[in-house]
């Protein structure tokens, strides 16, 4: 694996834009909120005040970082970045499949993706560890703690 850090030059500019976007979103979201005539502040006051605070802070953040070096995000080049993105994608896919596929099958799939493709383990070990983890979750969460995970496709068999 390459040990060269993956750095992002002038990323602080984009980070500042993210915060500006967030402030804009909040101001837009708070625009339609009703005002309370008898109260000094209504439901829109707090989010608006915070959004304005962000608008003030972003230029200060840029000023503070005007001479900042590129930020090293990870070691190991683009491949490591791909593994990180893969882990996030697997998690979001698991959330999407959770109800239709069922909790336990989705967990098995998530463990499989994580071990096989993110961590690069062998097929046999991946299946074994994913199986053990899924079984342990079923025993501890479902049987012992009484957590109700969605059945999904398992309803076809049980």
């Amino acid at each position: 694996m390459s040990t060269k850090p993956f750095a992002w030059p002038r990323a602080q500019g984009l980070v500042g834009l993210f915060w500006l976007g967030l402030a804009g979103l909040v101001l837009w979201g708070a625009a339609g909120l009703s005002e309370e005539p008898d109260a000094a502040i209504g439901p829109a006051f707090f989010p608006r005040a915070l959004a304005v605070a962000l608008l003030v802070l972003v230029p200060l953040y840029w000023l503070e970082n005007r001479r900042a070096l590129a930020v090293a995000l990870w070691e190991g080049g683009g491949r490591t970045g791909g593994r990180m993105a893969g882990l996030l994608a697997a998690g979001l896919l698991a959330a999407w499949l959770w109800e239709p596929l069922g909790g336990l099958p989705t967990l098995f799939l998530l463990c499989f993706c994580e071990l096989k493709w993110v961590e690069g383990r062998g097929l046999g070990r991946t299946l074994l560890v994913a199986g053990i983890i899924t079984l342990t979750v079923w025993l501890t969460f479902c049987r012992m703690l009484g957590v109700n995970l969605p059945w999904g496709v398992l309803l076809l068999w049980f």
Binding site: A11, Q12, L22, S34, L73, L87, L107, V118, E119, L149
Partner: protein, 501 residues
């Protein structure tokens, strides 16, 4: 509250903590905490956040006893890797690497671990005594607080966290704003209007703190660990039962640092935003200054292990004082623990000691027991801990992700929380890389709603007159302290620039 009454409640607390179930969960908590602390990558906040939803089924007393056990267990666990690998499992154990690792290289790893275990026990136990004496007294005083005082108190807590965590005040403030904004999402508590939901029905109940905390502290660490070098080597050391018992000379040299570390750690822990890391560094500096031979520090001085290890454990007891008596968490971990209290319908603050004495006093009593269990485990099972650590480490990532997904889903039975968790994991990763502190986000999310309610109630009481915050003395003092917390670091930096080189 009088001392006799305190002791009576504490006795009742022991009756709760000594039930077999609670004793088991306390042991489980400190063991998990020790392991988590020893494993670089997952901190106490992440561990508590991940296991919080899983503990929901245990009931409030057992769950909180276990979660608090994890919290103070982590403070010792980080020592094992600091001494044997020169890799601090926790930031509060960084300072232990200075002398602990040198002791290990000199063949005195057992003594370093033993002194650290005894120091952790002394610091942990004395800080619980401080908590028992100070907590109820502070809670009794805070009963007279009105909305103006509460608003000012929350401003102070947020300002201290913002000012003292992270490297930049601006970034701390931005993170705090994000946390407070997250607290605004959902139905407005006074008017009932939906706010910042953007038409998503799932957001009407607001953004829950649990997926945010687990994502920011737990899952983001796992994502980050993919981009770090691995292959840590453990120093081969004899850390058997006999080797970890320190001799009379080592113990004699450590007693002073342990006493000072306990006091320092406790009072630093009480301050929001300070915490275990600052306590351990302050203790190290103090011991070095007081030493007749300061040049030994960094070369394997036993006082350099005893003081900081005592201080970091003592700070955990101190951190519970504002959390239990005022409902104001002073760190990321106590913020998550506060969320745990809220999850069980308990509201930390002045009335908690009266409304749920069995939970609070059971928890306090369990801390005494937990420190004894921690001492026994750490003196007797260090080789076992090292072995378990080696086995778990390769599977840590997949285990944490699985626990996070199941735990977060089971809290409300909605997959939306899993999506929120992974979104905040990505955000947490970038926040860390760009040096934005994460603790103010969770603290802002938890305190945001109460802060806004207090502000609006105070203005209702004063008929929209903002001078109420200056007219009420306690509120004015708290707000002045909040302002000072921002100004002092700035003044310090200004003075440093003006000082001639």
């Amino acid at each position: 509250m009088e001392l006799a009454e305190t002791l009576q409640f504490l006795g009742q607390g022991f009756a709760v903590a000594l039930t077999p179930g609670n004793l088991l969960f306390c042991t489980l908590g400190v063991l998990i905490g020790t392991l988590v602390g020893a494993l670089p990558g997952i901190g106490p906040t992440g561990a508590v956040a991940i296991l919080l939803p899983a503990s929901y089924q245990l009931g409030p007393a057992s769950a909180l006893i276990m979660l608090c056990g994890i919290y103070y267990g982590t403070q010792y666990g980080g020592t094992i890797t600091s001494v044997l690998m020169r890799v601090p499992g926790e930031s509060s154990s960084v300072v232990t690497t200075f002398d602990g690792y040198q002791m290990a290289r000199q063949g005195r790893a057992g003594v370093a671990l033993g002194i650290a275990a005894i120091g952790s026990f002394v610091g942990g136990t004395l800080s619980v005594v401080g908590l028992v004496l100070l907590g109820p007294a502070l809670a009794g005083y805070a009963l007279s607080f009105g909305p103006a005082e509460y608003f000012a108190l929350m401003v102070l807590a947020l300002s201290l966290i913002t000012a003292f965590t992270g490297k930049s005040l601006v970034r701390g403030l931005m993170a705090t704003c994000l946390g407070l904004l997250l607290g605004c999402v959902g139905d407005d508590v006074i008017s009932g209007d939906p706010r910042l939901t953007f038409g998503v029905d799932g957001l009407l109940d607001g953004i829950q703190f649990l997926p945010v905390a687990v994502g920011l502290f737990g899952v983001s660490e796992m994502i980050e660990s993919l981009g770090q070098k691995e292959g840590l080597e453990i120093v081969k050391a004899d850390v058997g039962w006999r080797k970890v018992l320190p001799g009379r000379h080592d113990l004699g040299q450590s007693l002073g640092p342990m006493g000072r570390g306990s006091l320092l750690g406790f009072f630093v822990g009480v301050l929001p935003g300070a915490g275990a890391t600052i306590a351990s560094f302050l203790s190290y500096g103090l011991e070095q200054r007081l030493s007749r031979r300061p040049e030994r520090f960094g070369q394997g001085a036993v006082e350099g292990v005893a003081g900081p290890e005592t201080a970091n454990n003592a700070s955990t007891g101190g951190a519970f004082v504002p959390m239990l008596s005022l409902g104001i968490p002073g760190s990321g971990t106590t913020a998550v623990l506060l969320g745990g209290f809220l999850m069980f319908g308990l509201h930390p603050g002045p009335s908690l000691f009266k409304e749920s004495p069995e939970v609070v006093w059971g928890l306090l009593a369990s801390m005494y027991l937990g420190n004894v269990i921690l001492l026994v485990c750490n003196l007797g099972f260090i080789p076992l801990m090292v072995r378990i650590m080696e086995i778990i480490k390769p599977q840590l990532r997949v285990v944490v992700i699985t626990l996070a997904v199941v735990g977060v889903y089971s809290a409300r039975n909605t997959a939306l929380d899993v999506v929120v968790m992974f979104s905040f994991a990505a955000l947490g990763f970038f926040m860390k890389k760009f040096d934005f502190p994460q603790a103010p986000v969770v603290l802002g999310l938890i305190l945001g709603e109460r802060m806004e309610i207090s502000l609006r109630q105070a203005l209702n009481v004063s008929q929209n007159d903002f001078s109420i915050f200056l007219a009420r003395p306690i509120a004015a003092v708290l707000l002045a302290a909040a302002l000072l917390s921002f100004l002092l670091p700035l003044l310090g930096r200004l003075l440093a620039r003006l000082r001639p080189r």
